[in-house]
Symmetry: C2
DNA sequence: ATCCTTTTTGGTTGATTGACCAAAAATTCT
DNA sequence: AGAATTTTTGGTCAATCAACCAAAAAGGAT
């Protein structure tokens, strides 16, 4: 009884995610989004809301890549070893060197709305809990080791954008695995 | 034989540094800079050049805080232990939670000019060499340990902005020191 | 005191930004 | 076919952006 949407909100979210991912929040304009999606600004506003809502949708579309990727095989610290291998591999083979959308967004967290700020921080907290839970599968509760592992993930994803020597990224990965015992 | 500058370029650089530091590169406008410095945009352009040159000056004004702070007492890995203590302390007591200007700039590195991109990366490289040199003072050459320490610094400075549990920041600091032996 | 040089002022520029809206188009249901 | 409903189109809107410039102001040198 109504005109159907011509775009798929899910693929639209993914397209916007890629733009925000590469250009940052302030760095992407509405017209950037229009150019990347082929959807006019009027439709974007009607379908989602203002810019901050577009970003929220982009963040949702990223979950599969960041938190979803944590569903990796193994148990306990084995899963963490596989996870950081996966991250390192993904990050070093990305020709665009985009690093991680969440971490990049965290670095410009001041410029987000309260709502999106919370959404970003929540994802980092989820990462922290994922790490702690994985270690507890081995009966290990070591807050400092968890923090160090989270730090390794964060630094890996940050430095991936910076053209640093690849030996550094490898070193961070290997040390993180070594520390797990 | 000419009208003297009414502003001190050094303090002007420091003022601009603080604005860029808090708001990011794209996030700060010329009028932000004018408001913070009291110097009109015409003078800024005449004295420095376009926006990217203003940022370069701000980056220079930061060196004392980032690389200059590495002149901490001790030798070898002792110096690294003091350094990360200093960083942790500085970062956790900053009410504005600004983290590190260089790391924050690295996260939006795509949006900088080639020149500033290089300036940012160069500072990270300097940090890496500082770490390696410090370890070599103890006769230790351990690229993975250096990478891990650099990772700890980067993650500490990144997460400092994100309202994460302070225990995480402490954990990252302590693990970095522990790994040094 | 007057010239000379440089800084500063105060403004304009054209482009771009995010936000919004009314009218046209598209589709399903009756 | 026509009514109802939603999306899309294409545009406007004020605000802001970075960049630049001519003229006024401020000294130091002579």
């Amino acid at each position: 009884m109504a005109r159907p949407k011509v775009y798929d909100p899910a693929v639209l979210g993914a397209q916007m995610r890629d733009v925000f991912w590469q250009k940052g929040y302030e760095g992407t304009s509405l017209s950037d989004l229009v150019a990347a999606t082929g959807v006019r600004s009027g439709s974007l506003h009607a379908g989602f809301g203002q810019k901050s809502a577009l970003f929220a949708a982009a963040l949702d579309a990223y979950d599969e890549a960041f938190l979803g990727a944590m569903d990796v095989e193994g148990r306990g610290r084995d899963r963490l070893r596989h996870y950081i291998d996966l991250l390192h591999n993904r990050v070093t083979t990305d020709p665009a060197k985009r690093g991680c959308f969440v971490i990049a967004s965290a670095s410009e967290i001041d410029r987000h709305t309260d709502e999106n700020r919370e959404a970003i921080q929540s994802r980092i907290r989820q990462m922290q809990m994922y790490i702690e839970n994985a270690m507890e599968e081995d009966g290990v509760r070591d807050p400092d080791a968890s923090a160090a592992f989270l730090g390794a993930v964060v630094s890996l994803l940050t430095l991936a954008r910076c053209n640093v020597d690849t030996a550094i990224l490898r070193g961070i990965r290997d040390e993180a695995k070594r520390r797990l015992g």
